[in-house]
């Protein structure tokens, strides 16, 4: 069930309505049933995977706490706890490997064997990737780790825990919640709160704007160019890549906003997943603002256990590279994603290694690094670097990505911006105008947020007529200008595939 489907627009109000009618103590059961139904709409069988992951992490949490409470010596307790954590990680990551990376691994092993003139492996595991498997497995694993670290107590009620893993707003594409945040909220009562519902709805509207008006409209151009790279050159790729940066942001951020808004309506506060990422001044800062729930997951459960930045610069750089290569692989079982992750890691390593030198040069040249101009330049440079990595993320193969990058720099055709050939990429002149206007709204929204202005609060402070005007105009804008309805092949949110 997609957030932008009729199915969800019927499902969600029913869930919310009944949620507030049911006695508080039983509400979590209703949400659990709704969440499992939500997941089963894609594939009924795959709900077993969700149950498996939930069961394994629930039992591991319980076992870790049980071991911790035994009157054993500290080392024995630690050994047992580690065994249970390792067991949970092994079983969950095996599941992930089997469904997501098995064919990729076999394919690569076969390539190596073929080069060595050895017999090829033939097993294959031809299944559809279960929707959201990377998200809920990571969320469940964070629980195991948090219990191991003693940051939370193991949850006794299996059904409440199952709801933590399967909470439908963020089940298939995040934000990847932490048990400290979401599990504790599941324990609490959430009476109906009008203000909260209003805020949640407004957040959802912003999410739908990002998805339907921007992401799906941009997808038309990006798909046209990236799916037939040999038919285009130079500036086509520059334009499509710049637009893809906005598309992937609006698509994923849009989903997160709808998830956050939907949860807010029911009284749950999910973590922010994006914080104006394209206004970052360095690639490192970009990653503090992009997909925050995943980045912080890797920071807490991979980067820090690897030693973080406490073991010298070289080790820190190595850790950064490991984290980003794994992050790339998390996004998909393809070399394009691994290269994308590696490049992001590399840019951060280079940025960190040259930081001192750059500051010295700026000082000698007398540059005012805090001036608006300088900051804008940094933002633009960061955008360009990040956008270059997106080429690998979006391209259908490494060869395509290399061709596109080469063409960007060696086959300039700037006249396409003036001779009308832009309008042959799938969007008419009016559609292009609308797209630019909408991007303007997006940038304005992000800049205001960056400057600490809470737009929702500003709107809620207005007089009734003004508020209603804004609400109605916003919804009508999406309904009229959004890409949806007949002839619209409801595009799944890009991040579902991860």
């Amino acid at each position: 069930m997609l957030f932008n489907s009729i199915h969800f627009l019927i499902f969600f109000p029913i869930v919310v309505f009944l949620y507030f009618l049911i006695p508080s103590k039983a509400r979590y059961l209703w949400l659990l049933a709704a969440s499992y139904y939500f997941y089963m709409c894609w594939n009924v069988t795959y709900v077993l995977l969700l149950l498996f992951s939930t069961g394994v992490t629930y039992l591991s949490g319980w076992a870790i706490e049980y071991a911790g409470n035994r009157p054993w010596d500290g080392r024995k307790i630690q050994t047992y706890k580690k065994i249970f954590v390792a067991g949970s990680f092994f079983l969950n990551l095996s599941l992930l490997f089997l469904f997501k990376y098995f064919d990729f691994a076999i394919e690569n092993i076969n390539r190596i064997l073929a080069r060595c003139n050895l017999a090829l492996l033939s097993p294959s595991f031809d299944v559809i990737l279960p929707v959201g498997i990377s998200f809920y497995i990571f969320q469940a694993l964070s629980y195991t780790m948090d219990v191991y670290r003693g940051e939370i107590h193991a949850e006794k009620n299996f059904l409440k825990y199952a709801l933590f893993v399967s909470f439908f707003p963020q089940l298939v594409a995040g934000p990847i919640e932490r048990s400290k945040n979401l599990l504790t909220q599941i324990q609490k009562e959430h009476p109906f709160d009008f203000e909260r519902m209003r805020a949640g709805l407004f957040i959802m509207v912003w999410g739908y704007f990002q998805k339907l008006v921007l992401a799906d409209r941009i997808a038309v151009i990006v798909d046209t160019v990236y799916n037939h790279p040999m038919d285009y050159r130079g500036c086509h790729f520059i334009l499509a890549s710049a637009l893809f940066a906005i598309q992937i942001y609006c698509d994923f951020s849009g989903y997160s906003m709808i998830a956050i808004g939907a949860a807010e309506i029911m009284g749950f506060h999910l973590m922010d997943n994006f914080d104006c990422p394209y206004l970052a001044k360095t690639v490192e800062e970009f990653w503090r603002r992009w997909h925050i729930s995943l980045t912080s997951w890797f920071r807490d459960y991979l980067y820090i256990p690897l030693g973080g930045n406490r073991r010298g610069k070289l080790r820190k750089y190595l850790n950064v590279m490991v984290v980003f290569l794994v992050s790339g692989l998390w996004h998909g079982a393809q070399w394009t994603f691994v290269i994308w992750g590696g490049l992001n890691g590399l840019f951060q390593v280079i940025g960190s290694a040259t930081k001192g030198a750059r500051e010295k040069i700026a000082g000698r040249l007398g540059l005012h690094t805090e001036s608006i101009g300088h900051r804008c330049l940094k933002v633009v440079c960061t955008f360009i670097l990040v956008d270059l990595t997106w080429v690998f993320f979006r391209a259908n193969s490494v060869d395509d990505a290399l061709y596109i990058l080469r063409s960007m720099f060696t086959a300039p055709n700037p006249w396409i911006f003036f001779d009308g050939s832009l309008y042959e990429l799938g969007l008419s002149q009016r559609q292009f105008g609308l797209l630019l206007f909408s991007i303007g709204i997006l940038i304005a929204g992000d800049v205001l947020r960056y400057r600490g202005v809470k737009v929702t609060e500003v709107i809620f402070r207005q007089d009734l007529w003004c508020r209603w005007l804004i609400y109605i105009a916003a919804v009508m804008f999406i309904l009229v200008f959004g890409v949806w309805g007949v002839g619209y092949d409801a595009q799944a949110f890009v991040y579902f595939q991860f």
Binding site: H7, Q431, M476, V480, G487
Partner: protein, 424 residues
């Protein structure tokens, strides 16, 4: 606390109502206007008609309701849309019966051969919107959509077509804010000529025996009418489609016998005098010339078998229809003036509302079709070049010149000069 809650509930209800109002207005502007232009006059007052013509494109190109008013004093409306299958006709009838009951229902049987309820996905589904969009939302419209479509998306699409039309924001124009309703009471007119003189009809007794989904719904239509005391007339308009279609249409005779309802299989009735050289727009549809003949035929049939008369109507109703006829006459004059091909121009001159003086250059040899259409011009008088030039207002070069007047008032409608087939 209670007052705050009450205030919020009231505010929410008001907001929802306001939103619905704005949404309704926006949806109205965004809507494609074809359906509204063709049918909204009917749906605004379904009780105002004695005869309903139910069918598809064959039907809306097979009858002229305003001529039926003028000639036969029959108030009728054509409830026909492109590609409309018997299933859709049935549900259109069910919905219309929610509001009124006609004396007679004339049903076109084309598409009875199909074994699918509705057209397969694609352009055909878009055509279905034409018939569906104007039907007011009601329990029976929901039942119709539930019966005809299988998926939730499709059902919602036909109940709330905004999901289709919101994409029209790129093509919104002045007419979307003030749509013009057609004056023809649901029919459409074409002046294109397709020469089908080689067409061979199969024998009328050659018919299919098997039942199709089309037959199933045709039975439902008949049974519904009989349950409501509405006289049903089944008809098949002349067309030049393949053998299988003609066999299916001939098979309607079985239904006619079974239910004791008349069946007008017009392809086989020589009194119609359909000319395969001049009366078709394409292999499936009649043009104005053919439409005039079938319309007269149906009007005559209705007059012979039913009692329709102005005298039984209130004066206001008569005045309304007379005014509508006046608007239709003006529209006909405008259509005539807009013709640029000789055959189309002559087809309009076949209307009894016009008189015409014609100059034909000596030695001109018209095509057989033009020759027949020229013969069919009802009130004509041939004149010389000087006389034509005097009336047109100067000397001219051309093969034909026409001075057209309203038959009733003598008022000048148009003057035209044609060189070969093209207007100068």
């Amino acid at each position: 606390m209670k007052s705050v809650r009450l205030k919020r509930i009231t505010g929410t209800i008001c907001f929802i109502l306001l939103f619905c109002f704005v949404f309704h207005c926006v949806a109205h502007f965004m809507e494609r206007k074809d359906s509204m232009e063709q049918f909204s006059e009917f749906w605004s007052d379904p009780a105002g008609y004695d005869v309903w013509f139910l069918g598809n494109s064959h039907m809306y190109r097979g009858v002229l309701p305003m001529e039926l008013w003028k000639e036969n004093e029959i108030r009728s409306y054509v409830l026909a849309s492109s590609g409309c299958r018997p299933s859709q006709m049935y549900w259109t009838l069910v919905n219309a019966l929610d509001y009124a009951k006609p004396s007679v229902l004339v049903v076109d049987c084309y598409h009875i051969q199909h074994d699918l309820k509705i057209q397969e996905a694609g352009d055909g589904r878009q055509q279905m919107h034409n018939g569906f969009d104007a039907i007011p939302l009601s329990a029976n419209k929901i039942r119709a959509v539930m019966d005809l479509f299988d998926t939730t998306e499709e059902r919602l699409e036909y109940l709330f077509p905004f999901s289709v039309y919101h994409n029209r924001w790129e093509e919104i124009e002045r007419g979307d804010f003030s749509p013009n309703y057609t004056v023809q009471k649901g029919c459409k007119i074409s002046t294109v000529v397709k020469d089908l003189s080689g067409y061979k009809l199969i024998d009328e007794s050659d018919m299919i025996a098997e039942e199709t989904i089309g037959y199933l719904y045709m039975r439902k239509i008949i049974e519904l009418c009989q349950a409501n005391d509405i006289a049903v007339i089944l008809e098949a308009l002349p067309c030049c489609k393949g053998k299988e279609i003609q066999r299916a249409l001939n098979g309607v005779a079985r239904l006619s016998t079974e239910y004791g309802v008349p069946f007008l299989n017009m392809s086989y009735d020589d009194t119609l005098r359909i000319d395969y050289q001049t009366d078709f727009k394409d292999v499936g549809h009649l043009n104005l010339s053919g439409q005039r003949k079938t319309s007269k035929y149906i009007g005559q049939y209705l007059n012979d078998h039913f009692q329709f008369s102005k005298n039984s109507l209130p004066e206001r109703e008569i005045a309304k229809w007379d005014n509508d006829y006046l608007a239709y006459t003006e529209k006909k004059a405008a259509w005539l003036r807009g013709q640029t091909r000789l055959s189309a121009y002559l087809m309009w001159l076949g209307d009894e509302g016009f008189t015409c003086e014609i100059y034909q250059k000596e030695g001109t040899s018209p095509t057989p079709a033009v020759s027949k259409l020229l013969d069919a011009v009802s009130e004509k008088q041939f004149i010389g070049k000087e006389e034509a030039a005097a009336q047109i207002g100067g000397n001219f070069d051309g093969d034909y010149a026409f001075i057209v007047r309203h038959a009733a008032t003598g008022e000048l409608v148009d003057t035209a000069i044609f060189e070969l087939e093209k207007r100068k």
